[in-house]
């Protein structure tokens, strides 16, 4: 046994932490190997970064999919860069197959639907779901639709010295953003008035975030950390502009 100091030996090797991570659910409607490949290839082409090693759950709840060869399906997914980590529902055969492939098996009824929980606050249903959440954190899943947050909408001017941040969503401003003011969003930023201050979109690193304004007069704009100052915007000055990242370069278009 390696010679570890006493206090290190006594401290626990790991901690268990409950967390909510978002997964993409591939909800299989019917299966045809060729059609499946074409559709997947198409999707991946639209958003290659999003799908690269993306953990996904294969949902096999529909009767029509109970005969599908899971190994074949998993291999197809991996071919396009996806990383299946489990199945939801499925026939007994498919579930046995999943265990052989070291995939997690999620019974359909254990999937937490946050939306229901939120809209039905006092129902026993929600308590049940919360219990599930506490008892079996590994089996809980948040569907993409449940992480949707409505955009933050601001209708009054954002003045010099003020800062408005839209965490986890888009920011929509319907009044001027003054010089010396700062607007930030994890998502996109829309300013339907003169944008004269600083605008930082995709502040958590979303390179697909964009900045839109009807009057570009910004001191600085930034998307996922790539920025431009007013000096480099003369061509677009006071114009209606769409700003985005292209190959890690901030580019602007007149709209």
């Amino acid at each position: 046994m390696p010679n570890l100091p006493q206090d290190v030996k006594r401290s626990p090797c790991f901690h268990l932490k409950g967390t909510l991570v978002s997964f993409t659910i591939l909800d299989l409607c019917h299966f045809d190997s060729e059609q499946f490949s074409t559709q997947l290839a198409d999707k991946v082409k639209q958003a290659p970064l999003f799908f690269k090693n993306a953990p996904i759950i294969l949902s096999l709840e529909r009767e029509e999919c109970h005969q599908v060869d899971l190994l074949h399906l998993v291999e197809l997914c991996r071919e396009y860069g996806l990383s299946p980590i489990g199945i939801r529902g499925g026939s007994t055969n498919q579930q046995i197959q999943a265990e052989e492939l070291s995939l997690t098996v999620l019974p359909a009824d254990q999937v937490i639907n946050l939306k229901t929980a939120a809209s039905d606050i006092d129902s026993a249903e929600k308590n049940k779901e919360l219990n599930v959440l506490e008892d079996k954190p590994l089996n809980t899943r948040v569907e993409p639709e449940t992480i949707f947050l409505p955009a933050k909408v601001v209708t009054t001017p954002i003045r010099s010295g003020q800062k408005v941040y839209a965490p986890c969503t888009d920011l929509i401003v319907l009044a001027p953003v003054s010089p010396g003011a700062e607007v930030l969003a994890d998502g996109n930023i829309h300013v339907y008035a003169p944008l004269r201050g600083r605008a930082l979109a995709g502040v958590l690193g979303d390179e697909n975030a964009r900045i839109f304004t009807t009057h570009m007069e910004a001191e600085l704009i930034s998307i996922a950390g790539f920025y431009k100052t007013s000096e480099d915007m003369q061509e677009f000055w006071k114009k209606s502009v769409n700003a985005m990242l292209e190959n890690e370069r901030l580019v602007m278009q007149i709209i």
Partner: protein
């Protein structure tokens, strides 16, 4: 219900005290019981402009500290009926203004039947300025037609809509832009921002444009607010602004360069002295 109006700017020396004195006096002239409160503790000069400096016994801070009653500290204006001045202390600093104290004095004024309470704010965005704007129902933003003044006005507007009592309650403070020391000749030479430029940047309704005028200096030398000189350009511009504050429609004047007629050019304009 008393209406509390703060006259503020961020930037110093733009004409807040001149405007507080003029507008407060104008409201009283129009028959409204009005108090002008000097929040510029340590640099008091509202009393100088109002010409009552020799009658100051107690001040705002004395009332806050309960060293004097409001009645003792309020100075009744000798020229204008319905008008009272609450002077600032020259010997204290702005930390003497506590939020509770200011609230108590403003409430007492309101209960006393004052219809308008005009708060002359100190420059800056620190404690004194915050206290002056905290309880405001409306704000007159005094701005000179130059970039730094406009920027500071923008800043104070942001503070107004985020740090005032109304903002904390989710309510809006009425905003009015007062463009002072306006010189149309310099605007057309491109040396100053024009009315439209300032309005565009600040996006606040325009209460009035006060021209740069000798009459302001003259008025402060004799210790009478310029609005009492109705012949003067600045005085009549302030009177128009008071009318608009009371909800009346008035076309804006003194925005464009005056076209002098031949005779005027020879003998000089008497009425509208523009510096």
């Amino acid at each position: 219900m008393a209406k509390i109006i703060v006259v503020t700017s961020g930037k110093g020396g733009v004409g807040k005290t001149t405007s507080s004195a003029a507008i407060g006096t104008g409201l009283a002239l129009r028959g409204h019981r009005t108090a002008i409160v000097d929040f510029d503790v340590g640099l008091r000069n509202l009393d100088l402009i109002m010409g009552c400096e020799r009658r100051v016994v107690y001040d705002f801070v004395n009332v806050i500290n309960e060293e004097a009653s409001l009645k003792q500290a309020l100075i009744r204006d000798k020229r204008t009926e319905n008008l009272y001045i609450l002077p600032a202390s020259q010997t204290r600093d702005k930390d003497a203004l506590s939020k509770e104290g200011v609230e108590r004095v403003l409430n007492e004024l309101a209960n006393d039947g004052f219809e308008y309470i005009v708060c002359d704010s100190p420059a800056g965005i620190e404690h004194g300025a915050l206290m002056a704007l905290y309880f405001a129902d409306a704000a007159i933003i005094v701005t000179n037609p130059e970039v730094s003044s406009v920027r500071d006005s923008d800043r104070i507007l942001g503070i107004l809509q985020s740090k005032s009592r109304r903002a904390e309650k989710g309510e809006h403070v009425d905003e009015y832009l007062l463009l002072t020391r306006y010189n149309p000749a310099r605007v057309s030479r491109g040396e100053m921002l024009g009315v439209e430029d300032v309005k565009e940047i600040l996006a606040v309704p325009l209460l009035g444009v006060i021209p740069e005028s000798q009459s302001v200096l003259k008025a402060s030398n004799v210790g009478a607010p310029v609005i009492l000189d109705p012949e003067s350009d600045a005085g009549s511009a302030y009177m128009d602004a008071v009318s608009r504050l009371l909800g009346e429609e008035k076309a804006h004047r003194f925005i464009n360069e005056e076209k002098k007629g031949l005779l005027k050019r020879i003998f000089g304009g008497k009425k509208h002295e523009t510096v």
